[in-house]
Symmetry: C2
Subunit: 429 residues, 2 copies
């Protein structure tokens, strides 16, 4: 039976949930017109009924019992914006088992249990939509699934964490050191009180694993992703990078090579002319290389109540179209295999290295010999005038196997003429 109104239940009404309510109510006429069917929020499960809400809702809609959403036979679509992993996993599983379509903004959940939940959905003849789990309001999941569907995705590089991009932009543009830029980000609401998941790169790794699963049709384990955060990035390195023609960005990189997948998150030098270098402050962007389309990039706000709500609502509208038209398995889902992941030390990269050496004759020769012995060839060298007998040297290598480069670093660390190895960063072109 085709429906006149499709009823929605919300789990959670925090930042994203409030955005969803605001958009669905504010743009309801427009949305209903496009869909040819009305959308109605029937129930909202929250933890604390008394908490003040960013958006006014009829108190009768609120409940503190998630079952009032999950078990209500009138509710067709369950929107999960409560966050966390285990409770959300159970709730979504129950929703699917009760025949509901699910929309979620939960990246931790999708990174850990995405493939499993998509499989449950398939068994139930339902779907999970998760556009909002990566890149906030920026369309990423849907373009990967549909717009680039005829492509083999070769590689993507993303700025998919707004906090770290804000910090790196502040360091670069305002000449702040990391700690000061972090404090600024916290003051501006772009970093949380506990920023560790963002600044250590874990948030980006979760999102990378969701994007890589979809791009490469492979079930990614979060531990397969190599992760380095930005806590050790120094203002000095950002300045040297600029001198060399690069910006420093926290990039999440996924690539499919003949031997397997490459999955890594780390601060990276990227040429100033690259479109990702122009992504400033809290903005996010995903740069994709497809075999047919070539290079495309999607840019926008990676977080926030209304942007993320925009993505959730697009998913709700997709689910509603499927319901309205009684489409079975109308959603393109990849079959997920398990492709091998290439360990970081086997991968090739270019490296940026900053070190301090004793300023005496022959030191540079020794340095060059170490790299030569490890078959690491050098592309760029900067040496500034030495201070108190110590010279700061910045090197950029040509493409080299990471394991080889690390061996060379270990030899350098043992050399008495090398005072300190201060920074090691990867470089992409």
């Amino acid at each position: 039976m085709k429906k006149d109104t499709i009823k929605i239940g919300l789990l959670g009404m925090g930042t994203v949930g409030s955005g969803v309510v605001k958009i669905l109510t504010g743009n309801s006429e427009n949305i209903g017109h496009k869909l040819g069917v009305g959308l109605e929020i029937k129930r909202i499960a929250v933890r604390d009924l008394e908490k003040p809400r960013a958006v006014e809702v009829d108190p009768a809609l609120l409940t503190d019992n998630p079952d009032h959403v999950l078990l209500d036979p009138e509710i067709d679509i369950v929107v999960e914006t409560m966050g966390g992993i285990e409770t959300a996993r159970q709730a979504i599983t129950r929703a699917l088992e009760n025949g509901k379509f699910v929309v979620t903004a939960n990246k931790d959940l999708m990174a850990h249990h995405g493939v499993e939940l998509l499989s449950i959905a398939k068994t139930q003849g339902r779907s999970i939509f998760y556009e909002a789990s990566v890149g906030g309001g920026i369309p990423l999941i849907r373009p990967l699934k549909y717009c680039l569907a005829a492509n083999r995705i070769k590689k993507f590089m993303g700025i998919i964490n707004g906090t770290t991009n804000y910090i790196l932009t502040q360091m670069s543009a305002a000449g702040k050191e990391f700690a000061e830029a972090l404090a600024e980000a916290q003051a501006q609401g772009f970093a949380e009180a506990d920023p560790s998941s963002d600044i250590e790169g874990r948030d980006a790794a979760y999102k990378l694993s969701i994007l890589a699963s979809l791009s490469f049709a492979s079930q990614i384990k979060i531990d397969d992703v190599y992760v380095e955060g930005i806590t050790d990035v120094k203002l000095r390195d950002i300045h040297y990078a600029q001198e060399l023609g690069y910006a420093v960005k926290l990039l999440a990189i996924g690539e499919e090579a003949a031997e397997g997948l490459k999955l890594h998150v780390h601060p990276t030098l990227i040429p100033l002319e690259h479109p990702l270098a122009a992504v400033q402050n809290e903005f996010n962007a995903l740069f994709i290389e497809g075999d047919a389309v070539g290079e495309v990039m999607f840019y926008g706000r990676g977080a926030g109540s209304l942007p993320t709500g925009s993505a959730v609502c697009a998913d709700v509208m997709d689910a509603a179209r499927v319901l309205k038209n009684e489409i079975e398995n109308g959603v393109l889902e990849a079959t997920f295999t398990e492709k091998p992941v290439i360990p970081m030390e086997e991968q090739h990269s270019r490296f940026y290295l900053r070190l301090k050496a004793v300023d005496e004759p022959g030191v540079f020769g020794k340095l060059a010999t170490v790299f030569g012995d490890a078959a690491v060839s050098l592309d760029r060298i900067i040496q500034k005038r030495s201070v108190e007998g110590t010279a700061e040297i910045v090197l950029v290598t040509h493409d080299v196997k990471e394991g080889r480069f690390r061996e060379a670093l270990n030899v350098l660390r043992e050399m008495p003429a090398i005072r300190s190895i201060n920074s090691v960063l990867r470089v992409v072109e």
Copy 2:
């Protein structure tokens, strides 16, 4: 009856058509797997059977009679890549009347007859997909229709013509004048032998009208779009713009205000920090402001065989999903109304003005008085040392009604102290 194989007929096998054939054959396993149904190219109508093809195809597929595609009851999807307006319009109309889904890459056609063809499709219970008509491989139509479906689109600004962006980039980066940069673009294959539609802005205006129709759900007439090309942009203006912190780009701008739509294409000064300023050479990008999502941008190659083919194939896959699942009216189509368009002289803008004046006491005062009398206030002024008694003056105004600004220009033109008015460009922030 659900199908195992969906059959496709092509009209035209030039640049885009060849790309489509290459992608559909090269990625057929992957595409069939995702769709759960195979795609087969059954017939390709071409003008000249003997012409050498960029991609090898079984000669038995080729025909010089379009009816072999349009009337074949086995063909479900007709892909039109032959270009031109009237013949394509008739062919697509016949295809729809014969119950076929249509995919087209034809911007001229969609700009002139899009609303009419979409209406025929609706009557027939079929759809026209036209992602490839704007922005080549960049997903634009589908994101506007689906990903941003819950948004009210407030404004968009696009670099949607690769030829002019290539020329402006060459002028800016390599210090070439327009004519030299155009010759370079022609040598590189980024400009046609007759480049007039590109450099005069008409190509961008066609694409703008397609995007605006969709964004604002209004039937746009091509004559409602104000158009200025880049033929009068001087290297000197690009240098002054850089000095003032701007790049010069040919922007297609669409905006919905309370009083009506604003639709204009012209060379524009845009701040260097704006993401559109970083779009170089033949690349295209569309920057969109939605009421919920905020600012998003889509970037990529706006032309070329495989990029445009990628968009066509995504459309073919969408049509195939609809066919496979026997979805009726499963595509979100706006109802097109006719919204008023605000004439250019009623619109507000900031202006960049370069002029030459006699270098004598009181001239600047007279100039300032003319602007003051027309209520045009000035934001920035550059005056370089005068040469042989003539001073070059560059002005940037605050926001002003275009009609008022033109009145002031007319007064300036009559002033003996003003030697020449060399450039007038619009400025966006």
